[in-house]
Structure formats: structure tokens, C-alpha cells
Amino acid sequence: MSESLIEESILSRPTYGTLKIVPGLAHYFLADASGAECVIRVVQELPRDMMEKVHILYVPTPGEAALITSLYALGAKRFEHFPTIEEAVSKLGDWLSDAKMGTQLYLAGTEGLVGQGVAKGEACGLDHTAVQCEHRGSLARRVQCVHCKTMIENVTTQPVKCPSCDLLLLVRDHYSRRLAAFQGVCINAEDPSEEIEIKEVFK
């Protein structure tokens, strides 16, 4: 695949907006440390009697406590935090399994978190119009190796070495919502002897 290292964006690549509360019977938030301020921004503006409808899941940066305190202080009906995106997304699935029509989902933070939250919402039957996303923080990507299907988290380099099959992968802009991942395809498959410089590009 002889593509240039940084492609212009293509139509399967997600775009993100700005979180804004819309009418709903319940409001679920999922954020990591870079997205916490988005949650605080919108929830702070809600009238106190609406807090009964607010449920927040949070993935803090290890060792960080200030944002946990701020999010807890919002007074949501439920607030839980987990050390990994995977655990938080799994909990989101548990919560959404009881959710009713009129549920709204709000996702804020890095692309990996937002993407996995979208996929979980879709898997739980939430219509895409009921999901809002705001991107914050690092541009690190979640990448699926198309060859061995390994998911590689927090990819910041182009290309990236697959930790499982060892192939050097071109990280494409082609994105699967279902997998919440960008596609990684061997960059030197035609000539494995070709040497390719690894650069940090998704900061």
C-alpha cells in the first residue's frame, strides 16, 4: 500500500462535536481525564432536580484525584470510576442494558474512549442520534491489525509495529465504528526489506 504517511481525512473517519444537553429521560456520561472538563461544563449548568437523571463513568489518569473529586461533587445519581477504558465501557453496557427510550449518551475524551463508547451504545441499541461525542486530549489511535486482528491501543506512531504478528503497519484513516478502530495494514508487504522510519505523528 503505497500511501503517503499522513493522509487527508476520509469519509469513514469520525468527526466530533461539542457536548450539549438535549432533552432526555436519562443522561449517561463516559469520559477520561482529558474529557472530564467537558462533563463538568455541561452538567454544572443543569438544574439540581435533573441530577437524578445523570449517570457518570470516569477513567482517571493513574494517580490523579482532583478530577475525581470535581466529578463526584456534581452530585449525579450514579458516579463510578475505573482504571481502564475497557472496564468503564463494560460498566456502561451494564447500565445501558436497563436504559429506556429517551436515553442520551455523552462521550468525551480521547478517540479510543469515544469510539468504544459509541460502539457499546450501538450494541445496546441506542440510535446514533442519541449519542454525542467531544474529542479532547491526545490524537492517539486505537488500531486493528488487519492481518492478525490484534487491537493495538494508544498508537502514536506511523507506522506502528503489531505487537502480535510483528508486521510494520501503516495506520490508515479508514475507521470502523463497530470495532472502534482504525485499520492497520502492512506497509512493506511488497518488499519486506524496505526500511521505514517510525515517526510520532498522533500526538
Binding site: 503505497s2 500511501e3 469519509l11 469513514s12 492481518h147 486482528k149 484513516d173 502492512c186 508487504a189
Partner: protein
């Protein structure tokens, strides 16, 4: 008409070849001396006896060998055949369309007997003789899409229609030109076409989608698409790119005629009756350059098309490594004479 099915391979020793009588029926994809994207969709009417457009689903001398290659791919990677849960009915629609069409068009090869819901299907070339209850998946050895997909040449995607878009929600894809069903499943029409350069800007996909959303039952359509492949390899999936990618380095001016193959997809579009899904068969035809140039019109025209191909397309279609020597090699078959319109040989 009895077809002599060839015993040949699409991998390893690559014994695939076209019989001399099969060459003129190749769906040459260039109606003019230059190529640019277009929607180029036309009704899938029966056309030209002996051409690949004669029947609903073309069966040719490669049928049995292609089905063997499909079985090898699926054994190695079951992810090449997937259907989201809501696509079961569409799978039965697909099975019915293929069985009814093949039994009608090739009565010496296929036979279908329907007694209410009780169906009896005989596929002589593949030595299959099965009975099952239509609509009851427990009476088949696998999903209806996989069952019939293992008996029909070409890849098959099944597209669900909702929200004014088409969604790639099922498919049996083992002979693809470098796209991954496993990655693209669940995407809408614009998303799965996202990596294609230029065409979005030209509005090609918007027009094609608009057309497909109103595709009526009983009025299938077709178009041709093309690329080049080194060696007659059907499985040029991204999954196996490290296996077929190095082939590109083996092309030399001496072997280019036998190594480089024109790879043509006869794509057809069918509205399915129960599910309202669209069946999208992608039938691949392969022909070595040496075989293509036996038809003087095709040799001349292919030279002009390749010589003038936009650089973005040379790159996107993965031809960069051998494009210059191909153009040079083809030039010997271009005497400068005008070519006649249309795709059929003179």
C-alpha cells in the same frame, strides 16, 4: 451446451488459464480509449449469447476450481463470511435467487424442485444433492448465505437499506481486490467507499447511492470495475497482503505477459423480495496480458488506457511498481489505428 470445467489453481503453482474459446467472452471493461470513474450502471438484461451477460449468474469453465479456492479461504479464515443477526431473511432471498436462476439458465447443471417449503437442490458440477425446508436454517449445514455462496462464482455482499443509506451487513468475500469484509461490515455506503480517491469529489458515490436506493425488484443492474493483479490470484485480501504483495516485485519485461492479469469485476445489483436488501455480487474474471492481446482491439485500447491513467488511480489500484514497464510492453500492440466503440472484440 456443456461446459468443460477446468482443474486449475489460483495459488501456489497458478495453473489458471483461459481456454482459447473463453477469451473472447471476457468482460473487457473499457468501452473507450481512456478511463475515468463513472457510475456506468446499466440494466442487467440478457445480452449476447455466449457473453458473461447472457445469464443472471454466469457459470464458466472456472466454476469448480473457484469454488474449491473459496473453500480453502474459508477454512483458513472463517471471518471472510459474516452476517449481522438481522440478515438471515436476506440470506434466504439470496439462496432463492441463485437457485431459481441457475436451474432456469443451466438446466443440464442445476435442478431445483420446490414442493411448498420443501426444496430439493441438485448441483451436478459440485456433486451436491440436498433437501431442506426453505426459511428454516436448521435444515441447512450453515447460514443460507454461506450455503449458496459456496456454490456461486464471485463474492457476494448483502446490503441492508435503512435511514436513506445502504449498510454492508453481510457477505461472503474470498476473492476481493484488497478490501476487508471483517473491517467494513456494518459500515454505510460512503464509509466503506471512503478510501477510494477522487470518486467522492466527482459525486460518483452520491449518484450511485441515489440510484441503488430506488432499485426495483425484478430489474437488476450491472457495471464493470477493474484492476490488475500479479499472478491469477483470487484472494488478494488485505488480510493476506504479505502473501501476495511480494508478487509485484517479480514482474519483469520478459514475464509481464503471463504474470500481470487484468482483473475485471462484473458487479450486479438485485433488490431482494422479503428483506428489501440489495444483493451485490462481485464476479471476478482474470485474464493474463498475453491472453488479452490476442484480441487486437483490446491490446491497442489497453495500451492507451494504461498510458493515460491518472497517477492517483495508478497508486490506488496498486500498480505503481510495474506500471511503466506495462505501458512499454503494451505499446508494441498499439499500431495507432482507431478502435471501435464498445467492449466486445472486433
Amino acid at each position: 451446451m456443456t461446459i468443460q470445467f477446468k482443474d486449475e489453481s489460483f495459488r501456489g503453482d497458478f495453473t489458471y488459464a483461459n481456454s482459447p474459446s473463453n477469451i473472447p467472452r471476457f468482460p473487457f471493461p473499457f468501452p473507450e480509449d481512456e478511463y475515468m470513474y463513472s457510475t456506468n450502471i446499466e440494466p442487467h438484461h440478457a445480452a449476447r449469447v455466449g457473453s458473461p451477460f447472457e445469464n443472471a449468474f454466469d457459470v464458466d469453465e472456472h466454476y469448480v476450481a473457484e469454488m474449491k479456492d473459496r473453500a480453502l479461504v474459508l477454512a483458513d479464515d472463517p471471518g471472510r463470511c459474516q452476517a449481522l443477526p438481522h440478515m438471515e431473511t436476506a440470506g434466504w432471498d439470496f439462496l432463492e435467487l441463485v437457485m431459481v436462476s441457475k436451474a432456469r439458465d443451466y438446466p443440464d447443471l442445476f435442478k431445483l424442485t420446490m414442493d411448498g417449503g420443501h426444496w430439493h437442490w441438485i448441483n451436478k458440477p459440485l456433486q451436491i444433492d440436498d433437501t431442506f425446508t426453505f426459511g428454516d436454517s436448521s435444515t441447512l449445514p450453515c447460514h443460507p448465505m454461506e450455503y449458496i455462496g459456496r456454490q456461486v462464482q464471485g463474492d457476494h455482499a448483502i446490503l441492508d437499506q435503512r435511514d436513506g443509506n445502504l449498510w454492508m451487513d453481510a457477505g461472503i468475500i474470498t476473492a476481493q481486490a484488497d478490501w476487508s469484509l471483517d473491517f467494513d461490515i456494518g459500515m454505510n455506503f460512503f464509509e466503506w467507499h471512503a478510501p477510494v480517491p477522487l470518486a467522492h469529489e466527482l459525486g460518483v458515490f452520491q449518484r450511485a447511492l441515489k440510484f441503488l436506493l430506488t432499485l426495483p425488484q425484478g430489474q437488476p443492474s450491472r457495471r464493470l470495475n477493474w484492476t490488475l493483479t500479479v499472478n491469477p490470484r483470487l484472494d488478494t485480501s488485505p488480510e493476506n497482503y504479505p502473501k501476495w504483495g511480494p508478487d509485484k516485485l517479480t514482474v519483469t519485461p520478459e514475464n509481464i505477459g503471463e504474470k500481470v492479469h487484468l482483473r475485471v469485476e462484473l458487479q450486479t445489483f438485485w433488490r431482494l423480495p422479503r428483506s428489501n436488501a440489495i444483493l451485490f455480487p462481485i464476479r471476478t474474471y482474470l485474464m493474463a496480458m498475453n491472453e488479452v492481446v490476442t484480441q487486437p482491439k483490446w491490446g491497442r485500447r489497453l495500451h492507451r488506457v494504461m498510458r493515460d491513467l491518472r497517477p492517483e488511480l495508478v497508486n490506488y489500484k496498486g500498480l505503481s511498481r510495474y506500471h511503466p514497464i506495462l505501458v512499454e510492453w503494451l505499446s508494441q500492440f498499439d499500431d495507432g489505428a482507431p478502435t471501435s466503440p464498445g467492449i466486445f472484440p472486433d
